[in-house]
Symmetry: C2
DNA sequence: TAGCATTTAAAACGCTTGTTTCAATCGAGC
DNA sequence: GCTCGATTGAAACAAGCGTTTTAAATGCTA
């Protein structure tokens, strides 16, 4: 229950943006849902675009902080954390980062999916700037759990995981998210390990068949 | 080079929708880019919403047809096609389905990503209806290449692959798409195989660590 | 060539959008 | 209690939207 107008607007906007997208959602919808005056948006944020960015930054900062905290935690406990543990530190906070239950988590995943889809240049830059830090951190942790991995390929593979995480979590039924997240961790770990052939040398057999 | 107005509109709309999204793209932009009159859209398609669906159906039908054709082709050649070959029949047509080069393929992937993000009910139903058919077909092919797989988990895993494919292809640089697609096939194959433990029995070790 | 359906053209309609304006209200600090 | 900055309220603004309308042009068929 937010008390100040600013938070009321942010919450209403986040919910509506996730449901309808940024552009279709009107300021009048937002202010009506928040129970505040229309002009309050332009007063507190200046413009609709700025509101969009504010909504994003608030959640993204919390999510990435939770991820880093969890990663640091497992690194403190084990000298060489398993690949699954590292991946879980990336996936799990996306589900529970705001202790708001699965519904809120899914709502945020829908929001994140929109950020990928809408190629808003400013938003995209802000996003990748925020992500650059955490991605580098996780890439290092994964590489350390997977010493033989090729760095460039690893970057692509992390993109695969982000894509699978974002899209599936945004789409899947609410009561399934945790099961699916656990399956994704296993799936990603196996994919990264590549059944032991993750290095630059690719299997001639499969490649030949695949491109035939 | 389309000759009739209908195709000119469809092409212009597809391009603009991919770049900007459905809602922000105006009919005036579309008709200006297509070099036709504004009223032509409402004449040929009735309304903007119908135009969106038309743009989608045209491409999606072609893509799924290409996928099924490639799958049938490899099933004709081998009695038991490899997992990689099946996955490639799913991934590769997304890149080359319209022989339009990588740029066009990426544009379509952006469009597909928007379809996932925008939870337009009608569009979503049409999409999942189209997908239900092909998904079932590929799920069967994968299951046959991976006899020990758990059906329900397999469905989730296919979602992972679709997510990774859609999001990475839409985001990645143009000259990298083919490399990334090949890597995705390998990644997905390894993930599905789960290093040989894809059945219902999960590895106690990793699960414990992952949820710690 | 005449007639008819199809297609394009240009303008206008009604409506909603984000944004601005300006007065009213609130809440501390002196 | 009064003042002054911060905040809210209600109304209005210009612009752009999807859609409709009416008329002219075009392409077939006979």
């Amino acid at each position: 229950m937010p008390v100040n107008t600013r938070d009321k607007i942010l919450n209403a906007a986040e919910s509506l943006f996730a449901q309808q997208g940024f552009h279709p959602t009107t300021l009048r919808q937002i202010t009506r849902s928040a129970g505040v005056n229309l002009a309050a948006v332009n007063y507190h944020f200046g413009a609709k675009q700025a509101l969009i960015h504010a909504v994003f930054r608030r959640r993204l900062d919390a999510l990435n902080a939770a991820r880093l905290e969890q990663l640091s935690s497992i690194e403190r406990e084990h000298d060489n954390p398993s690949l699954e543990a590292v991946l879980n530190a990336f996936v799990e906070p996306a589900l529970a980062f705001s202790q708001g239950g699965d519904a809120e988590a899914q709502r945020f995943m829908q929001l994140l999916l929109r950020a990928f889809a809408d190629r808003d240049v400013v938003l995209h830059q802000a996003l990748s700037h925020d992500y650059a830090h955490i991605m580098q951190r996780f890439a290092r942790a994964i590489a350390s759990a997977l010493p033989a991995a090729d760095p460039k390929r690893l970057r692509h593979q992390i993109d695969f995981i982000v894509g699978a995480l974002t899209l599936t979590m945004a789409e899947s039924a609410l009561n399934e998210t945790r099961v699916i997240a656990a399956e994704l961790v296993q799936f990603a770990a196996a994919g990264l390990r590549g059944c032991g052939i993750n290095q630059s040398s690719t299997r001639t057999h499969s490649t030949k068949e695949a491109t035939a």
